[in-house]
Amino acid sequence: MPAWLDDFLWTYQNLINTLGVNGLLALSMYVVLAVGQLSLGQAAFMGLGAYSSALMTMKLHLPFFVVLPASCVVPVLFALAIGVPTLRLSGVYLAIATIGLGEVLRTVYLNVDLVGGALGLNGIPERAEAWMIYGLLVVAIAALWLIGRSHVGRAMEAMRQDPVAASVMGVDVQRYQLGALLASAVLAGIAGCLSAHQSSFIGPNEYGFEPAVTILSFALLGGIGTPVASVVGAFILTLLPELLRGFSDLRLVFNGLIIVAAVLFLPRGLVALRMRRRAA
């Protein structure tokens, strides 16, 4: 590796890792929006992945190659517990239930000693490497892109546009909605694990409402026409505050403005590409 690249990576290591993690979070949002659902639970799923994986590493001393895949188990269980009852009802219920989940979990983290209470967990071994983060990001993008160009992707797009017509075409809409929620919990959980194992510290306030809105704005800014679009949104929204320092205080305001602007002026996002929905 040339010296300048080494220097560059060293200086910006944290930012580079954060970009990749946020890309995974954007994908976890994309999966839900792509079937026409709205979840504000991505940050909560991420927190469950972060806390459960940190405990597996620190208390159970499990190796990272076990911890990483296992980090999606707890988020998936919570997604099942929330998705099964709410997806029978109209779409709003999932959004509300997932907001609630984030707030409930924050209170739990604050009050449970095992997870460090208000102090959070410190000294998590830094085991997440950039190659793992970007490897998983590339695999996730490729898998979602391949799925998008198949009968599964057509079913997702059909139910996003018109769930009634999709069900008449034979799409089991509820099953797809639950599947998408579980996939999004897996992606967010793994992102949580990776972020916990690269920053060495996690706290109860990192997975509340504000990050949930930020993750939503990744996908709204980039668009959900293709999986890459949402990742582009995540990259822009992660880099902007770095470029405009001092501006980070206004982050939530900025994210709110982006959501409003995206809905009003860019309903298809910045990357308003339409995916070809067939493989042949």
Partner: protein, 262 residues
């Protein structure tokens, strides 16, 4: 034995009975019409048949199976397809992609096969595209395969819906007012299309207000009025059936009164 059989099929909404104890048998083969004045319950009847609205009472059998409690998405695999009175094409998909969704029930390949692009998946996708192009050809939309569906004219969107419903070669096709909004030339070519569909072995059950279309095409006619089935028989006899004439005259009279008195 009949392909479709309803027994006392009823749907109530707060304060009204949209479909009232309808017992109807649709035989295998041919074109069958359900007619009736506005608000008679025709669409509600179709919605129950296709599993979108659960019946309040009664039962339905289709192709030898009880489908009373079955979900909408199961109907496709059983061989039932439909179009909608207010067109429901996926406007942000291409014409070809729309038709491909009509084959969803038959696409068996799992996620692993999709992601790994296994040969079974690729074969199924290729076959689906071939079948979809043929279905578009049959409705005269082959040249528009790659257009966005939302950009099609109204009449073409109706044809697209028919292609999407027909691509899986269903046993029963439900058409809810297929000629609505079409000009006489389009209506005539639609009649030819429906005839060809029936000749191809798919039973057609259609709702339509255009009486010329219904009378010239249908092997049997059933008349709904205020949710009740008041006639079921040949189209010729329907014209001379007092209850039918009365229902239509009543509806027309009511319309005239509304027009005159606001």
């Amino acid at each position: 034995m009949s392909l479709l059989q309803t027994e006392g099929l009823t749907r109530r909404y707060a304060g009204l009975v949209a479909v009232d104890a309808v017992t109807l048998a649709v035989p295998q083969g041919g074109v069958h019409a359900v007619i009736g004045p506005n608000g008679a319950g025709k669409t509600t009847f179709f919605n129950m048949l296709s599993g979108l609205v659960p019946p309040s009472e009664g039962t339905m059998r289709f192709a030898g199976q009880d489908i009373t409690r079955g979900k909408a998405h199961r109907r496709a695999a059983l061989g039932m397809a439909r179009t909608f009175q207010n067109i429901r094409v996926f406007t942000e998909m291409t014409v070809l992609e729309n038709v491909l969704t009509g084959l969803h029930a038959g696409m068996a390949c799992g996620l692993a096969g999709v992601v790994l692009r296994l040969s079974g998946f690729r074969r199924a996708e290729r076959a689906a595209v071939v079948a979809s192009r043929a279905a578009l050809d049959a409705v005269g939309l082959a040249d528009h395969a790659d257009a966005l569906s939302g950009s099609l004219s109204y009449g073409d969107q109706r044809r697209l819906e028919i292609a999407r419903a027909m691509v899986a070669k269903p046993r029963l096709l439900l058409l809810d007012e297929p000629a609505a909004g079409m000009n006489p030339a389009e209506t005539e070519s639609l009649a030819g299309l429906v005839r060809r569909i029936a000749d191809g072995g798919t039973t057609v059950l259609l709702v339509e207000h255009d009486m010329g279309f219904v009378m010239g095409l249908s092997d049997s006619v059933s008349v709904l009025n205020f949710g009740r089935l008041i006639y079921s028989g040949t189209p010729a006899q329907a014209r001379s059936e007092p209850a039918v004439v009365e229902a239509y005259l009543g509806a027309r009279l009511a319309e005239k009164l509304r027009a005159r008195h606001g």
